[in-house]
Subunit: 132 residues, 2 copies
DNA sequence: CGGTATCCGGTTGGATACTG
DNA sequence: CAGTATCCAACCGGATACCG
């Protein structure tokens, strides 16, 4: 199997590297959230805006367009008044749910340790400034 | 099991949500790469700089400090001249390799489809501007 | 060798206001 | 309803130069 770090490095160094492309997409602030929301089925623009809460329409549109461009979700305009636009995961987008779930499970199990480490680190830094 | 979207959403909406914290860490430009490089064992600062190639010392330091702060890697200073500093994954950091590999495998299998979708989308946009 | 200091341009996310 | 337009501040990553 070619899962040695050296292989992955040669890989990740390339700006077109698969991991880089995917992390860039999934890494931005709202993308993963939207994919998660769409797991249960299509949502309208206003539904998404409501569920996400604080996101502005501009940013929501941006995120949705990028995900659509990458074939992860499909945008369907229903010709009616008032206008209705549905967003739903494509088959491709749906396959992303699993790796995202894996990461989420890691996060749920280990974020506490991460945050504790963070506090420890910050305390050590404070000591270095205040007490030294 | 509580893997319904609604649960995840309530989760992801929280800025302190595990997924958000982890994606923020893993999403930045060099973090995943560095974790991957360290899979095979400790590396010195200059080794990392060499392997990553284009990254500037400032950015490399930043990334390493953040990962250290979150307890994902350990920084060891060897008191000798010339100075030698080793970076290696902590146990916590090592457990991140698996979810990252899952995402990487998805990326390798599906990035082609993503990029094709991207081209299709861009072509459609071009047509809309040039030919309309 | 392993950083830090300073400066800087581009991108990201958001506030606000307006439109088909 | 589902966006778009404009403006803006903060942050990120990088270039360059210098230091213990």
């Amino acid at each position: 199997m070619d899962t040695k770090a050296a292989d992955m490095v040669g890989n990740v160094l390339d700006p077109n590297c698969p991991s880089r492309v995917v992390l860039a997409r999934v890494g931005d602030k709202w993308a993963a959230l939207i994919i998660a929301v769409l797991e249960d089925g299509p949502r309208r623009f206003s539904e998404l805006k409501g569920m996400v809460g604080v996101v502005t329409p501009k940013v929501l549109t941006q995120t949705l367009r990028t995900l659509e461009r990458d074939g992860l979700l499909r945008r369907t305009i229903h010709a009616q008044v008032p206008p209705r636009v549905d967003y739903e995961l494509t088959d491709l987008g749906a396959t992303l749910l699993e790796p995202l779930a894996t990461l989420r499970h890691w996060a749920e199990h280990n974020v506490a340790a991460m945050l504790r480490a963070r506090d420890r680190y910050d305390d050590a830094q404070d000591g270095r400034i205040a007490g030294d």
